[in-house]
């Protein structure tokens, strides 16, 4: 690894230094192709973010792919119902590694205004490892852009070697997650305990 002081000194002199890992992550983070996948109201703001005014292509993510096989990023934009949740997990499983998930909007992160409903999943993070959560109902396109920048920072910080390397480089890390069944009363299982655990209330005695 190169010393940071030496590196900034070199860049002042017009010498650009980098590492293979940084170059690799720089390329990855600037070409995140999202899955063309809208669920509800938030999908309209997602489309608005890809239009001329907000222009998500400034961040290299304008290539919305219709097939999960070609996508790097799943933007869960909208309410996930219990009928739709198995298909969402299946789509995630079909995406190639490395893959990321943005949960966009109150419904996708917690069920939102429809949380009390009998048919609404209370957050897609019960089944999928979500990288960035965006609150809002619906979030503004700027919020989606901010989430994308946050994800880019996360990708830029991922290591390629060593024990803390990125999940897609670890052989034992799961690439697919179990698909819940649309059972008689509820989704079965109701959550994936490897991904999500209910919050524990710690009370002072």
């Amino acid at each position: 690894m190169i010393d940071e002081g030496l590196r900034s000194e070199l860049s002042k002199q017009g010498v650009f230094t980098t590492t293979v890992g940084e170059l690799y992550n720089w390329g990855r983070k600037n070409s995140i192709w999202p899955l063309n996948f809208g669920l509800a109201c938030c999908a309209i703001e997602m489309i608005a973010a890809s239009m001329a005014r907000f222009d998500i292509s400034r961040f290299g993510s304008e290539v919305f792919r219709p097939s999960p096989r070609q996508a790097d990023l799943m933007i869960v934009a909208g309410t996930v119902t219990k009928k739709m949740a198995p298909q969402v997990v299946r789509l995630y499983n079909q995406m190639p590694e490395p893959k990321y998930v943005i949960a966009m909007g109150a419904c996708a992160i917690s069920g939102g205004p429809f949380k009390q409903g009998y048919n609404v999943l209370k957050g897609i993070d019960r089944y999928l490892p979500v990288d960035v959560h965006i609150p809002g109902c619906p979030p503004r396109p700027e919020a989606l852009l901010h989430a994308l920048i946050t994800l880019q920072e996360k990708i830029a910080g991922q290591k390629l070697t060593g024990p803390e390397r990125a999940p897609h480089l670890q052989e034992e890390a799961p690439s697919e997650y179990p698909i819940p069944d649309y059972g008689a009363y509820d989704l079965d299982p109701p959550k994936n305990p490897d991904v999500w655990q209910p919050p524990v209330l710690a009370r002072k005695d």
Binding site: A40, C41, I47, M51, T79, G117, N119, V120
Partner: protein, 415 residues
């Protein structure tokens, strides 16, 4: 009604996996469970089981389905024999939530029904409650309602035409033009209500807040620019050769069928039926404004496109007239008490011409703070029921264009 083609030669096909198995190979279905009612057994040989039909399921994740929605198509060669929509992937319990909360607490949920047109939905619900409770609306509030509803209609139709052209293969460009205008209108909504899409602006007997300073001037500026946008949009699209070839004569809906199926809105008017609730019901103050109701002649997809373009022009005319003479005065009836709001027992059906058709809310009150029954008549759901009849005998790519012209929003279809 099926094409009278000869029996296809199955031996020539190499796609053995895709051919539907003949019913002889399928074991007999188990006897129905004794559940109190009897099921009619299916005929042992389905009439077209051995014709080599291909079943294709489109969706629930598909770029052409306008949301989470599945289409089960049965194809004979390339032609559609059966075409069944499957909904329920976005069922969000709107009606149950509406019955469990107070009257006012259902108002933000109406935003999320048809999430393109939140202000029209607000107005339809407010109309139903005002009818139920017998409330009057001040003149200024009615003007604001008309202005916001017509702006909503313009942005909905513009976005719909953009999506329709996307189905035709014009990836992005018409949609970019539509969203450019839509953003101007959303800026007005944001200045007025605080939210771009989920406005939650109307209240029973009026509106939530008055127009901010300078809003009317800004709105006039936007409305003055609209005819230029329509001309530009039409120059690009209306005489486009591909658009005309792909939409003229496709998906013809005869007026008798449209009326008997309960189709409303631009789809019904494209079939030549003169039925616009703004003229029929004259709710709000629509009888003060001069506008025409555009009608189609052929009832095909091109007519539906053209009716929407012309409706946007008429909406711009209504806006120009309304913006000229917005009166002063209160924006909400001061007698209305929103806290502990209890209309007397009874029922009411409030409806209006939303951009997609007749949007109605049916409420039964038992005198308590919650509605006893809260029922929505969603226009895009009822317009969708006619899909199979329009697609008979056409190819799959035509069917997706027809679906695009129906103008569905899944939040409203599944509720």
């Amino acid at each position: 009604m099926r094409p009278d083609s000869a029996e296809p030669d199955l031996s020539a096909l190499s796609t053995g996996d895709l051919v539907v198995e003949s019913p002889a190979a399928v074991p007999a279905p188990p006897p129905p469970a004794t559940s109190g009612f009897e099921l009619t057994p299916k005929p042992a040989t389905a009439p077209d089981a051995d014709r080599g039909l291909l079943e294709v399921a489109i969706g629930p994740h598909h770029p052409s389905t306008h949301g989470v929605f599945r289409l089960n198509a049965v194809l004979d060669g390339e032609r559609i024999v059966r075409f069944k929509p499957v909904f329920g992937y976005l069922h969000r319990n709107h009606e149950k939530i509406g019955e469990n909360g107070t009257y006012l607490s259902a108002m933000p949920y109406t935003d999320r029904l048809d999430y393109f047109c939140s202000l029209s939905n607000n107005w339809a619900y407010a109309l139903a409650v005002e009818k139920l409770a017998g409330l009057a609306v001040p003149e200024r509030a009615d003007y604001i309602r008309i202005i916001t509803a017509e702006l909503t209609r313009i942005q909905n139709h513009a976005a719909l035409i953009g999506f329709l052209l996307q189905e035709l293969g014009a990836m992005g460009t018409p949609l970019m033009y539509a969203f450019r205008e839509r953003e101007k209108i959303l800026d007005l909504f944001e200045a007025l209500t605080g939210a771009r899409m989920m406005c939650n602006y109307l209240r029973f007997g009026g509106c939530r807040c008055d127009l901010p300073a300078g809003w009317l001037e800004e709105c006039r500026r936007v409305v003055e620019g609209l005819p230029r946008f329509f001309d530009e949009f039409e120059n690009l699209l209306s005489t486009n050769e591909i658009l005309m070839a792909r939409t003229q004569g496709i998906g013809v809906l005869p007026p008798e069928l449209a009326v008997s199926a309960g189709v409303t809105g631009p789809m019904l008017r494209a079939s030549g039926v003169n039925y616009d609730l703004r003229k029929v019901d004259r709710y709000g103050l629509y009888d003060r404004f001069e506008f025409r109701v555009p009608l189609g002649e052929h009832g095909d997809v091109y007519d539906r496109y053209m009716v929407r373009i012309l409706e946007m022009r008429e909406s711009a005319k209504i806006l120009q007239q309304a913006l000229r003479e917005v009166p002063g005065g209160p924006i909400v009836d001061p007698k209305v008490k929103l806290r502990n709001f209890r209309p007397k027992a009874g029922e009411a059906y409030g409806r209006l011409e939303s951009p997609k058709g007749e949007l109605g809310f049916y409420l039964i009150s038992d005198g308590s703070t919650n509605p006893y029954r809260y029922r929505i008549r969603p226009p895009s759901f009822i317009n969708l029921t006619i899909l199979e009849d329009m697609c008979q005998g056409l190819t799959l790519q035509d069917a997706l264009v027809i679906l695009g012209a129906v103008d569905i929003v899944m939040g409203e279809v599944d509720r």
